[in-house]
């Protein structure tokens, strides 16, 4: 324990370097802005920032992306409460009680509740993240290739089963992602796969091109097709935050703790991120809360539950990412991508080889939460003011950032063409309601899963039963089957 506190202390010191602090502030501000803007999703924002971390130190880039991730779960609440515009899907439950409280003339108090919930939920999840990551990583050191493969399989199946969209569509999306991940030279045989004679494809398709294309260009094309039709917003001169009193906070401590813990657990489960945490937490409060009958009428519990769970899910999601190298959601997949861009493979070894970096990231989450609330409290008006920006202008800038991101990978226009292609694919996915997250996770995790699958087959003489007969691998394989059956059971039960 003492060692852990010492490491975290060193992490705080490392985090206080000018570059890390600058990245923290920039990440928080950009994350809040992304949360506020309905056209920009949290995952898309993190994906757009990824190419710009190329030339940065790995710690600084992860600090930037994590800060964007955590503050993105908070910024959208402003517009949901003030204008009934959820900046992110996470913020939809905020419309039911947050906006209703605002309509009663208590918008400032509603914003105060979101601030308290985001800060408290975030801090609890950060503490649990610090306590849980190392033991989990130590446990994962026992893994060999069958365990790692079944773990990856579980991560991929959870994304399919717990995500948005029809199960079959999610499986198709995942398969396409895995296939894209196979393009290039096979690492064992040196054979060219799906390169179609192109020398550039022989090096494989950079997952960054897929991410930026599918999330960035695809999303802009989808919005362009609707003519950038945004709802007109009301005047914002009176937007401010009023913190609840200690007595008021004390009255909601049970829903707050319940939602925070729920958020952490949901964050840890691969595939279930902030959106699910927010909805599930609101649902639990509506069914089991002390004032369940009043939910939806503008009460504090209806604001605290989704917000605390959404922000708490961030710390939870970072646990499997850092300890096992398994991203559960779109945003953590991109953060995994950032690690890999810098030649760092998160997983059990990362706490041994790069402990200083991991604890700096931990410390940045604590500092980031404080900073997020300070900026959210004092700068709410300028943050919300960004809604005055016409979507056509913002989208044009987003596209230019996508182009630069693609060009900066290998200084090749071919990557730009590929990105445009994946942008059109992303649009088609959006149009036909295929989820994009499994595609992106397939591209990133597919090659890792293939490697561990082939290693298992080589080590165990092509014996497939190894995935079921070893205790940990068997448990993970069973969990994979169960998680895939979960939506079917839900459907069957109506």
């Amino acid at each position: 324990m003492l060692d852990l506190i010492t490491q975290l202390g060193i992490g705080f010191v490392n985090c206080a370097t000018p570059i890390n602090l600058a990245m923290l502030v920039i990440g928080i501000v950009i994350g809040l802005l992304i949360g506020v803007l309905p056209g920009l999703t949290l995952v898309m924002g993190v994906a757009l920032a990824l190419p710009f971390t190329y030339r940065m130190d790995v710690t600084a880039s992860i600090v930037l992306l994590t800060a964007m991730y955590v503050s993105g779960t908070y910024g959208g609440a402003f517009t949901a409460i003030l204008f009934r515009i959820p900046g992110e899907p996470i913020d939809v439950p905020m419309l039911w009680d947050g906006y209703t409280m605002g309509r009663r003339g208590q918008a400032a108090k509603a914003l105060g509740w979101t601030l308290v919930a985001a800060f408290g939920g975030g801090i609890i999840s950060a503490i649990i993240m610090v306590l849980l990551t190392q033991p989990l990583a130590k446990f994962a050191l026992r893994f060999s290739s069958p365990e790692y493969f079944t773990m990856l399989l579980f991560g991929l199946s959870s994304v399919v089963a717990l995500g948005r969209g029809a199960l079959a569509d999610a499986l198709i999306s995942l398969s396409v992602g895995v296939l894209i991940g196979t393009v290039g030279t096979d690492p064992i045989y040196g054979a060219y796969r799906f390169t179609f004679g192109s020398p550039l494809l022989a090096d494989g398709i950079e997952f960054l091109v897929v991410m930026v294309g599918a999330y960035g260009v695809g999303e802009v094309l989808s919005r362009l097709e609707t003519g950038f039709a945004s709802k007109p917003i009301e005047k914002i001169e009176h937007a401010r935050t009023e913190l609840p009193s200690f007595r008021e906070m004390s009255a909601v401590k049970v829903p707050f703790l319940r939602s925070s813990l729920l958020g952490i657990v949901i964050g840890i489960i691969p595939g279930a991120g902030a959106t699910i945490a927010s909805f599930v937490s609101y649902g639990v409060e509506s069914q089991f809360g002390r004032r369940k009958e009043q939910m939806g009428t503008g009460i504090a519990e209806g604001i605290v539950a989704p917000q605390a769970a959404a922000t708490a899910s961030v710390g939870g999601a970072l646990v499997p990412l850092l300890a096992l190298g398994i991203p559960g959601s779109g945003a953590t997949a991109i953060i995994l991508g950032a690690f890999m861009l810098h030649g760092v493979q998160p997983g059990p070894q990362v706490l041994v080889t790069s402990a200083a970096m991991v604890y700096t990231i931990f410390a940045s989450l604590f500092l980031g939460l404080g900073l997020m609330c300070l900026i959210g409290y004092f700068a709410i008006r300028p943050l919300v003011k960004i809604l005055d920006f016409p979507e056509a202008i913002v989208s044009a800038y987003v596209l230019i950032l996508c182009f630069i991101g693609a060009l900066s990978i290998r200084n090749s226009v071919t990557d730009l063409w590929l990105m445009i292609g994946f942008g059109v694919l992303g649009y088609l996915f959006e149009r036909w309601k295929f989820p994009v997250a499994p595609l992106v996770l397939g591209v990133i995790l597919g090659p890792l899963a293939e490697e561990s699958f082939k290693n298992s087959m080589i080590s165990f003489s092509n014996d497939w039963t190894v995935f079921f007969t070893r205790p940990i691998a068997g448990t993970m394989a069973t969990l994979t089957i169960l998680v895939l059956l979960l939506p079917l059971v839900r459907k069957w039960r109506g």
């Binding site: 899907p89 939809v92 995942l174 398969s175 362009l224 097709e225 202008i393 630069i404 900066s408 730009l416």
Partner: protein, 178 residues
């Protein structure tokens, strides 16, 4: 077959045909086999198989007028918050795809600075924004900012353009005070 059913089935038929073509293509990957080891085509063929099975399942389900599809948990939870259907403008979409394609074509000829400036202004007009002053001013400011940050600070190797357009990039790089 009614029109809506046809539209619902088309993506899966396309997916199935694509899977068949890719499966055959994967079978033609050239390599020297090693005894006791799986070949390089096994993994992609597994993914293709999964894709084909999912497509086939959906085609059969839709044609048989099957019950409602099985959805992910997040979908069930968040359906309440989904926005109502917005009007669509296919011509804007086609215009957007043409614009990004033209950007990629012209980038090597005109260079980053000129292409980006023209693209920004064109996209804003395409997005039905009509404040001419703001369009041209913000296009110019963002182009200059991107040029400074990526060409002069971060040294990203962005295309300079061919003669005579490369002179614009050269002139930009030599601007004093930037």
């Amino acid at each position: 077959m009614d029109h809506s059913l046809f539209r619902a089935v088309v993506p899966y038929v396309v997916g199935l045909v694509l899977a068949a073509v890719l499966y055959v293509y994967a079978g033609q990957i050239e390599y020297t086999p090693r005894p006791g080891q799986l070949g390089p085509a096994v993994w992609p063929q597994m993914a293709i198989g999964l894709m084909a099975a999912a497509c086939l399942f959906e085609i059969v389900r839709k044609l048989a007028g099957g019950r409602a599809e099985t959805r992910g948990i997040a979908e069930i939870l968040s359906r309440e918050g989904e926005a109502e259907d917005e009007p669509r403008f296919p011509l804007l979409l086609v215009g957007g795809i043409v614009l990004v394609t033209v950007y990629a074509i012209l980038l090597l000829v005109l260079g980053f600075i000129v292409t980006t400036f023209v693209f920004l202004a064109s996209f804003m007009y395409l997005g039905r924004y009509r404040n001419h002053g703001v369009i041209w001013a913000t296009s110019a400011i963002v182009t200059i900012l991107c040029g400074i940050v990526f060409l002069r600070v971060a040294y990203v190797s962005l295309p300079r353009g061919t003669t005579p357009f490369d002179r614009v990039t050269d002139a930009f790089l030599m601007l004093p005070g930037l």
